[in-house]
């Protein structure tokens, strides 16, 4: 249990028993080193990657979190030991050391605290995820799966229901959708007994228990559970901070806090901040119409009814320009100008604008016939201000619009959205294009 949730009673017990001596936490910890080495398969781990004391282990937890989402050369084997339950005892103590150090020095609103909270969420989620089962026999797998289920259900039982309004960030980032949740009076229903109590009356001809098993899957439970653990981690750091104002801070903990800060600064510099790595490997290359998503293809055929300007100017122009010049925009998070990628604007003029103008002509009535000013608007959305010609001197007067998300398309131009198989799970037409281009 404390392997998943270090703040559980079991976790607290471990700290009470073993966590006493702060002065020695920088010392080499032989039992820790031995546990890690004994439990890793040969050749997977180099000695330099083995944490030699509690503080090292604490830093490794953060390193895993940062490298996993930001480092293209991330190698899971280096961190395998973090997901082996044998290290639980050490891991729990490392967790508390981190929280206390950061709580005392910076409080719960700091960058350091955020990194701990988020890393804990991901560590818990990863430890619950089925992928850690790979190296086990079938018999063990069944056992672990069963244990996992019990842990999840026990944890859920002991927690208050969560309201959907408290997880809007998970909804916003599409980790979970509103429609996947079973909601009643605003609460997310996860616990079996609670489910049956509430819905027994609605369910006819079927067993409520079976309905529960079908509808409330492990994915949702795991995500919400990780969320709850993050919340309690944050609360814990906050409480440490509040208490710290009355006692003299332990210099060892302050030293650890400084090491965490130093480490985070170095890592963020290396990998350009937090956040995902999705699509960042997409390279600029000539447009391939066959890889376009259905909505774009439909738009290229011209719009026969209302909304011509929106489709051509706001939808097609950003999509085509980014797809051709900077397809990795969403992965990189750095904004560029068109001329950063196309210095003499040759590609823009010869490859991109003709397609846009062609689509505009296919509209009925042809867009520029009655609204010639839209040509200027197209230039504006490419970042070249309100001018009739693309001119480098004007670049920057307006911003280069990023491609519209699927949600915006559905809301503003619902007729265009006719999703196919590839669309599933994607939230931007450009991601569709990148995925198709990768398939080759």
């Amino acid at each position: 249990m404390s392997f998943i949730n270090p703040l559980s009673d079991e976790g607290k017990q471990i700290v009470r028993e073993d966590g006493g001596d702060l002065d020695r936490i920088f010392d080499e910890n032989v039992p820790l080193i031995n546990t890690i080495i004994e439990n890793s398969s040969q050749g997977d781990l180099e000695i330099k990657d083995v944490p030699s004391n509690y503080v090292d282990l604490a830093i490794k937890r953060l390193e895993w979190y940062l490298r996993r989402s930001n480092d293209p050369n991330y190698n899971h084997k280096e961190f395998d030991f973090l997901f082996n339950p044998e290290i639980t005892k050490f891991d729990v103590i490392a967790f508390y050391i981190l929280c206390q150090a950061i709580g005392i020095k910076y409080g719960s609103n700091s960058r350091e605290s955020r990194a701990i909270v988020e890393s804990q969420g991901q560590i818990s989620a990863q430890r619950l995820s089925p992928s850690i089962l790979i190296n086990h026999s079938n018999e063990e797998k069944r056992k672990i799966r069963l244990e996992r289920r019990t842990i999840i259900e026990d944890t859920i039982k002991n927690l208050e229901n969560v309201k959907w309004t408290s997880i809007t960030d998970l909804l916003s980032s599409k980790k979970i959708t509103l429609q996947e949740l079973i909601l009643d009076k605003g609460e997310i229903i996860l616990d079996k007994e609670d489910f049956i109590n509430r819905f027994e009356g609605e369910i006819h001809h079927r067993q409520p228990e079976r309905m529960y098993n079908v509808l409330i899957g492990n994915k949702i439970k795991e995500i919400i559970l990780a969320r709850m653990i993050m919340q309690s981690t944050e609360n814990y750091i906050k409480s440490v901070h509040e208490r710290s104002s009355t006692v003299e801070p332990n210099p060892v903990l302050l030293k650890i806090a400084e090491r965490v800060t130093e480490f985070l600064s170095k890592e963020t510099l290396n990998y350009g901040g937090y956040g995902g790595y999705g699509g960042a490997d997409a390279k600029a290359s000539p447009l391939n119409v066959e890889k376009f998503p259905p909505c774009i293809r439909k738009a290229l055929d011209g719009i026969k009814s209302g909304g011509r300007n929106e489709v051509i100017v706001l939808f097609l122009t950003p999509f085509l320009s980014y797809a051709r010049l900077y397809p990795s925009i969403f992965g990189k998070k750095t904004s560029l100008k068109v001329s950063d990628v196309d210095p003499d604007l040759k590609i823009t003029k010869n490859e991109i604008l003709p397609i846009i103008h062609d689509a505009a002509d296919k509209c009925s009535p042809p867009l520029f016939d009655d609204q010639p000013q839209e040509k200027i608007n197209i230039n504006a959305k490419l970042g070249f201000g309100m001018h009739a010609e693309l001119n480098l001197q004007h670049e920057g007067e307006t911003t280069w619009y990023t491609p519209m998300s699927c949600d915006k398309v559905k809301l503003n131009m619902p007729d265009l959205c006719r999703p196919d198989k590839t669309c599933k799970g994607l939230n931007n037409p450009l991601s569709y294009y990148n995925r198709k281009m990768r398939e080759k």
Partner: protein, 323 residues
Amino acid sequence: MEFFKPATEQERRLYYKEEWDVKQVPDFILDHLENREFGFDHFGRGPNDRYKVFNTPYYLKRFLKTRNPFAAYCSVAFYKKPKKRKDWMKSELVFDVDAKDIPIRTCNCDNVCEICLNEAKGIVNNIIDTLKGDLGLKNIHLIYSGRGYHIRVLDDEVMEIDSDVRSQVLKYVVGADIPEEEYGEMNEKYNPPHFIIPIGYPKVFTDRVKYSIFHLTKNSKIDDVNEKLLKDILKNRYLLEENNWGLFKNNIGPLRYKKIVNGIASLNMSLVDGKVSIDLKRILRLPSSLHSKVSMRCTEVKNIETFDPFKDAVPKFVWERND
């Protein structure tokens, strides 16, 4: 008696002089008046007099009584500096159901009429039920806008959510997505059709599909549904009165059923004007003000069951017209 005729300037003046009072503006607007942006349309050419702020109801009263605007609006957003539309604090969650834009109207009127206004009310009713029951929201106000309805939600927990989440809420309450068709993981997978599941989003979706199917006419247009299929829907829909979905699906055929569900899901999306729901800085018609284009009062609906726009939202001057 003819309704929905434009109001003359004279009538507008009469309305604001004799009928309108600032006390008719609902409390949910007056309570934080100083944080809202107001906008006005003085000449019937759109609300281009914007960035107006009133620190007390008195100033709002004085403005409306002297200017008699063609239309009056106020922001769904609260700002620290509403005069500059800056320092956004939060926004109401809103749903705009305009009777003239409902894709399935059993009437064939050019503007709005009793029939489609009633249909708008039905749609609004469904949405409010889901907002309360599933989503647990409580501070919900319904406004008759003159040609349809605005649902305005002011629960604290939803006032700060972003456009993406608003759009998920919108799609949830109107039934705009086909529910997940596969549940479970790895070796235990199930594919129950949406109508088997009596709770959660699948239930909302099933209810909305049913509603839409019962409001189809032989002239309805649904994507991917041809004349023959539409005819078969109309012929078989009586089965849904008793919720015999299995039979209905069988009679139609599973592939064609899928087409129906797909078509209706995207049709549901246009029951509500989605642009309004995701816009965090929208202005909406001010309750109590006059909708001059149709001579109707925009007004808060206290009881949706008994509300009748033709009794409760028609200004006096309309009854006094001699035509």
